[in-house]
C-alpha cells in the first residue's frame, strides 16, 4: 500500500518507514509532500503529519504511536521508541544518552541523500543496526 509523509525526513520518519517495511508492509510505497501541504493525496496512509492518526500522541513520537496502533510488542522496539521519543521531541526526562546522536546522524543522512527515498533506505540501515545491537544487549542480560 501507499504511505505518505512530509518531505525532508528525519529521525522519527526514518524509524517509522523502517518499521513499516519490516513489520507491516514489505511492499510499502512511500510518497512525500511539502511540509504543510493540503489536501493529502487520496489512497495513501499519512504518518508523522500533525493531526493524522499515525502521529505524535500524548508526548510520544510517531514511532511509538505506530507500535501501539499495530499492536507490536517487542522489548527492543519499545527501546527504540524511547530513543526516537528523546531524539525527536523535547522530553523532561532523558534516559537514552544515544538519542541526540541518533537525531544528528539521521539529519546527516538526509543531508547527504539526493532525495527522501534514498534517505529512508539509508536510514533503514541505521535502524537495522540499532535493533541488532539493542537486541543483543537485551539477550545478554
Amino acid at each position: 500500500m501507499k504511505w505518505v509523509t512530509w518531505e525532508q525526513v528525519g529521525v522519527d520518519r526514518m524509524a517509522c518507514a523502517w518499521l513499516i517495511k519490516n513489520y507491516l508492509d514489505p511492499q510499502a510505497e512511500f510518497l512525500f509532500v511539502p511540509v504543510g501541504a493540503k489536501p493529502l493525496p487520496q489512497g495513501a496512509e499519512p504518518f508523522d503529519i500533525p493531526g493524522v492518526r499515525l502521529s505524535h500522541h500524548r508526548g510520544h513520537a510517531t514511532f511509538h504511536t505506530m507500535l501501539r496502533a499495530y499492536d507490536l510488542s517487542d522489548p527492543t522496539l519499545e527501546r527504540i521508541a524511547r530513543l526516537v521519543d528523546e531524539a525527536d521531541v523535547v522530553q523532561e526526562v532523558a534516559l537514552e544518552p544515544a538519542a541526540p546522536g541518533l537525531d544528528l546522524i539521521c539529519r546527516g543522512i538526509r543531508l547527504i541523500s539526493p532525495d527522501d527515498w534514498v534517505a529512508l533506505q539509508r536510514g533503514g540501515l541505521i535502524y537495522d543496526a540499532l535493533y541488532a545491537q539493542l537486541h543483543a544487549e537485551t539477550s545478554e542480560g
Binding site: 500533525p50 502521529s55 505524535h56 508526548g59 523535547v90
Partner: protein, 149 residues
C-alpha cells in the same frame, strides 16, 4: 533569516483548561525546556529554525489533545532595535546559566558530571551561539584533567 527583512520568529499563543493542573504544567515545562521566552505573560517566542518550528507544531497538536487551543505564528519585528533586544533576552538567559557553571567550576569539589549535564541542557537552548558557551566547554575539558589539560 534574511538580514534585510529581519529575523523570523515563531510565536505561540495558547490556552489549556484549568484542570487538571498537570496539563498546564506539562506545556509550560516543555516551553521552558525549549528555551522559549514568555513575553509580557502573553506570547511565547523562539527564533524560527526548522527545529523550533517542528517542535512547536507538535506541541500545538499536544495542546489540542489536552483540550486546549493553540495558535502558532511566524513573524518579524518591525521597529528598530527591538529585534536586538529580543536576541539579547535569549542570550542573557543562557549566559546566566553558563556563568553559574563557570562559578561552580571554581569550587574545589565541583561536580563535573552534573555540570556537564547542565552544559548540555543549556547548549540546546543557546540559539545565538554565546561565546560564554565556548568558554564553558573549554573549562569543562580542562577541569576534567588528563591528557588534553
Amino acid at each position: 533569516m534574511e538580514q534585510a527583512q529581519g529575523r523570523l520568529w515563531v510565536l505561540l499563543v495558547y490556552k489549556v483548561p484549568r484542570e487538571p493542573t498537570s496539563s498546564r504544567a506539562y506545556v509550560w515545562r516543555k516551553l521552558k525546556k525549549l528555551g522559549a521566552q514568555l513575553i509580557h505573560d502573553a506570547v511565547w517566542v523562539l527564533p524560527a529554525t526548522a527545529w523550533t518550528r517542528e517542535q512547536l507544531q507538535w506541541l500545538s497538536v499536544e495542546i489540542s489533545e489536552l483540550g486546549g487551543e493553540a495558535l502558532l505564528w511566524e513573524s518579524r519585528l518591525t521597529l528598530n532595535g527591538q529585534e536586538e533586544s529580543l536576541v539579547k533576552l535569549f542570550q542573557a538567559r543562557v549566559d546566566t546559566v553558563y556563568q553559574e557553571i563557570l562559578d561552580e567550576l571554581e569550587r574545589e569539589e565541583a561536580d563535573l558530571i552534573a555540570l556537564s549535564r547542565k552544559y548540555q541542557q543549556v547548549r540546546a537552548q543557546d540559539y545565538f551561539q554565546s561565546p560564554l558557551g565556548t568558554l564553558v566547554r573549554t573549562r569543562l575539558l580542562i577541569a576534567r584533567g588528563g591528557y588534553d589539560a
